[in-house]
Amino acid sequence: MLLNPGSIWAQIESLVETLHFQSRCYFVSASLLFFCYHFHLSRDEVFVYARMAASRFWTTPGSDSEEEDSDYDEEIENGGENADEPTPNRYLRGNNASDSDDSDGQKRVVRSAKDKRFEEMSATVDQMKNAMKINDWVSLQESFDKINKQLEKVMRVTESEKVPSLYIKALVMLEDFLNQAMGNKDARKKMSSSNAKALNSMKQKLKKNNKQYEDLINKYREHPESEEEKDEDEEDEEEEETDSEIEEDPSKIVMSGTEDEEDEEEDDRDNLTEAGWERKMSKRDKLMDKQFMKDPSEITWDTVNKKFKEVVAARGRKGTGRFEQVEQLTFLTKVAKTPAQKLEILFSVVSAQFDVNPGLSGHMPINVWKKCVQNMFVILDILVQYSNIVVDDMVEIDENESQKGADYNGTIRVWGNLVAFLERIDAEFFKSLQCIDPHTREYVERLRDEPMFLVLAQNVQDYLERKGDFKAASKVALRRVELIYYKPQEVYDAMRKLAEQSEDGHTGGESGEEPRIEESRGPPAFIVVQEIVPRKPTFPENSRTLMDILVSLIYKYGDERTKARAMLCDIYHHALLDEFSTSRDLLLMSHLQDSIQHMDISTQILFNRAMAQLGLCAFRNGLVTEGHSCLSELYTGGRVKELLAQGVVQNRFHEKTPEQERLERRRQMPYHMHINLELLEAVHLICAMLLEVPNIAANVYDAKRKVISKAYRKVLEASEKQTFTGPPENVKDHVMAATRALMKGDFQKAFDVITSLDVWKLLRNRENVLDMLKVKIKEEALRTYLFTYYSSYDSLSLDQLTKLFDLSEAQIHSIVSKMMINEELHANWDQPTGCIVFHDVGPTRLQALAFQLTEKLSILAESNERAIEARIGGGGGLDLPLRRRDNQDYAAGTSAGGRWQDNLSFGQGRQGGSTGRTGYSSGGRAFAFNQAAGGGYSRDRTGYRGTGHSSRAVRGSQMDSSTRMVSLNRGLRA
């Protein structure tokens, strides 16, 4: 060592800065080499100096330089002593130092804990080194286990994903040593048996262990020195990210230049000034882009373009840091020569920012996202300012298109797709909301960013509309719609208020500040972009108005999917505002129910959501039947959560593959968009109850046939099976308790049970809804009562009923009359006395059963006939229209009989049709029996044909007519 430490100190310090801020490793190594060359030092020594300087620098940022110097000498000496073996402690301190970036007082404690862990770890590394020296594999193995354990602790303490470089370094060292040992066969032979054994097991362990850190190790091997830097860099990336744009000003870079002597001076200055370290940050870039540093005037379009191409080409390549790339590109935007070029580079910045998060599952870091939005704003600014620039992603664009300067008059084409970027930003926003735990502050904070995106979307849309690209504008409009549609007016207002507030504080900080700084710091970028597009959102007073504007734009210009989605959002929003008829009409007019099966899953989910909301809306408006029909389908499979994408359900019988599960996770709705499932279930079950209870009461004999809500029936059956019914706990229990009361006609109890549900507080106009519900329950209680007990009465006075059910006379009159008209109740009014007089004409149980049997028989006969047709090669095509005609003119009986005889000639073992028809007594054979039925129920059967015998409802109505059917048959027989 030929030089005094003091003289290289300054040089080293400048290197340290680069080490700290410079993330691109090769520059570091280059500088290191430079030092080695100049001062005849070993690389390690230089490195140690650098590290020492770094630790000095970072631990005492405000101290004066003299003290530093003295300290420094000591350090150097230390360093000299063990120069060929850089002590891990240094790295540690380096690590700590980087932490002090976010120095708040409270973090101190954590840091000391970290320190301790790191010290332990480095001690272990030392042990390992010693063990290596004496070739002691047994103790090496122990140390290895120890360090792994310590690693866990360290990771816990630092709470980071990142493995400390110290550890990686140890791994690499170990691996190398192991390879060496394995290579040396003689030595291996000489080893004691226990030692050899340890060596072998070590080999296995290391192999397994290293696999986890493979890329880190590789990275380390590629750039051993930079590894340490990197983790520091990445640790305080967040700050850098936000700061870099503010602090990196090319003027500084240019001023400071690359000469080491200058650096020295400047650094001293920096240390003295308060803002010193901020400025130093900026110097990171100066080494990176030496070519730009020298002189601003020397920078030409070509150089920038070349550099730009170079950076872009590195994209996705191994060893290219994603963050670095963003930074480099951001820097390039500053030095871009023409607006078009700046735009071009900005597009790359945005896509590089999208690249920051590699996986599909994770989301983009929030600060990157924010910056991305800001970049988009700048892009828009440029586009608005220079209206001759056209963004296009369809045509191959000439390389030198962006050379044309701001004063160029013709159109300049730049490759890019605003809509795709915007959609990606939106998708990232959505993803981040999916990932963040909704019960944390973070989530709320994240939600606050929504207005920012809305503004951006609005601006993009405006721009596109001005450009006349309505198709793209409609896509953007859809994105906006999808952020608005699920917000009730209250939430919308809150968002609006937030946006207005943040105009001064929040957004001001985000968007307003940045250009201001840019301007204040001398001649920053070559292309100064004024802030043209508004950064502040302008929301209309009413969410409906906004929706209307957007939706009508989409309806006009959007493609099929966009339109369908917008329609669904529109329906949802209308339903949210309690406009049931509007949203129902929209749904029916759009015929979305028919085509929704063919759409993508996310649209299907949206459809489900819209249906659910529609059901809730119908219920709020007191439309029970409608509400039920909207919701019943959601509840048929018991997969509501999955259908609404509000949580992943594990199915016991159907194992999902991890792939499926991941897909499902990716389509989950963020928490704030959820429709409350309990409320939904309550509404569904209550609707079903109001419909089913009177229905069950009306069809006691044949409860199974006329099922309105299968899901409800299932729940009812389950609850009836219970030997002991406890007090209601969940929604189902409540509704079942209410059902039991309602079946007895006890409306008050039913209502009380229902009101005790706590989901009602989620409703906006809770009082009105509950009032409505009470009336409904009373009405249905009345109907149930009449169905159940009318056979016990000869007559029933209106007064009595009004007293029993607390309904007005007019209401009761209308309900009872309706029942009479529908032939549900065989009774008539006795006006003078105000009584209902019942006629006991209902079928006895035997009769009812007989009806049921006849129906079953007709089904059987029908399918028999079809089977025969299939067997003899079907004359179905010919028969069908014929029969339908028969059906209309009423000679069905005879002609059907004739048909039967036709068929009979094919049937084996069948008696003649006429004898068969007279009854089963004659034949005693099953076919004869069926024939009798067939002949008898020809009318019934033809009825089936007419309606396509598809739905249960049809069958039900068939049954209602069965009374008439019997008399008809009698006529035929006679």
Binding site: L846, L849, A850, I859, S863, A870, Y920, F929
Partner: protein
């Protein structure tokens, strides 16, 4: 002479072939025991063993004992078998016929045509050449009828069942229809002369018995209702079965269409190959899944259901006929 000898031989040979079972002759004691057992446990269904002798075309049932109520557990099943053996041993010791001739079981409204019954039959008939099942219906007996029935499986059915082959084709071949599954054998009740004498002694003076009163009961509705209910269930089952067949036929026709298409393609290919001078490919490809035969669903279920339906219908028929008589009688009485 030779002729004669052969005919003797023939006679001997034919006598080897057991004469068909004509009558089941049951002791009064057995009937009473069966009734007692079944009635006590009604509506649970119970079974018991029949003991007796096989004499030519007559099967004499001379004694019986009940089985303990069956449980699902296998262990207990084994115990049941032990019980059975033990019981028989005890009975032999007291010189009772200990030759198993079948079993009896109670039923509810004649719903006994099940696969289980057939399986039990097969089990019994493996060991005992002649056996019967006596079915007693307590609910029907309430109406003043002795609802006893002796059943056996028909031979042709048994053969078919052994091969487990209930496709439509086989059934047609055997000319077996649903009526031919079970054979009902007339029951003859016999009592020893002593008992008969004693019974005459016991007989009350009044010509009317409790049974006669039972027969005059006018409430037939519950019985009819239950029958109709069961009928409805049967119809459902039958519909299900029919659906199964429809499904099968649909599959079959689809497969045939596929096969045809494949064959045509293959033929066209062969033509081309022949034209090119190559060997034609075979027209059968067993490895192809479309040539795998679709299994035809068994018709046993539908046969049994049909049997059951006819049983219910007969019951309804009978009850209805009797009820009409009673109603007319009542009407006549009222007019008087």
């Amino acid at each position: 002479m030779a002729n004669m000898a052969r005919s003797f031989l023939q006679v001997a040979a034919t006598e080897e072939v057991a004469s068909p079972l004509r009558v089941v002759q049951i002791e009064g004691l057995v009937i009473l025991k069966i009734i007692k057992h079944c009635k006590e446990f009604s509506p649970a269904l119970v079974t018991g063993q029949l003991l007796g002798l096989d004499v030519g075309s007559v099967l004499e049932v001379t004694n019986c004992f009940p089985f303990p109520i069956r449980e699902e557990d296998e262990e207990i099943e084994a115990e049941g078998a032990n019980y059975q053996l033990e019981m028989m041993r005890c009975l032999r010791e007291v010189n009772v016929d200990n030759n198993t001739v079948g079993w009896y079981q109670s039923t509810l409204l004649g719903s006994y045509q099940t696969v289980e019954l057939i399986e039990t039959f097969m089990n019994y008939q493996e060991n005992i050449r002649r056996c019967v099942c006596i079915i007693y219906d307590p609910s029907k007996s309430n109406q003043g009828v002795l609802a006893l029935k002796a059943l056996k499986l028909s031979d042709s059915f048994m053969e078919l069942y052994r091969n487990n082959n209930f496709t439509g084709e086989k059934l047609r071949e055997k000319n077996l229809s649903w009526v031919d599954i079970f054979e009902e054998i007339p029951i003859k009740v016999s009592n020893s002369a002593l008992i008969s004498a004693f019974m005459t002694e016991l007989e009350a003076d009044s010509p009317v018995t409790q049974c006669d009163y039972d027969r005059l009961k006018l409430s037939t509705n519950p019985f009819l209702e239950r029958n109709v209910e069961f009928l409805i269930e049967c119809m459902d089952d039958l519909s299900m079965d029919q659906q199964k067949f429809q499904y099968y036929y649909r599959n079959l026709s689809r497969q045939q269409a596929q096969q045809q298409a494949w064959l045509q393609k293959r033929r066209a290919e062969n033509m081309a190959r022949r034209a090119a001078g190559e060997d034609p490919l075979p027209e059968e490809d067993p490895s192809n899944p479309i040539f795998k035969p679709v299994p035809e669903p068994s018709r046993l279920d539908s046969f049994l259901i049909t049997n059951q339906i006819s049983n219910y219908c007969n019951q309804i028929n009978g009850v209805a006929g009797q009820s009409f008589c009673r109603l007319y009688l009542m009407k006549g009485l009222h007019e008087n």
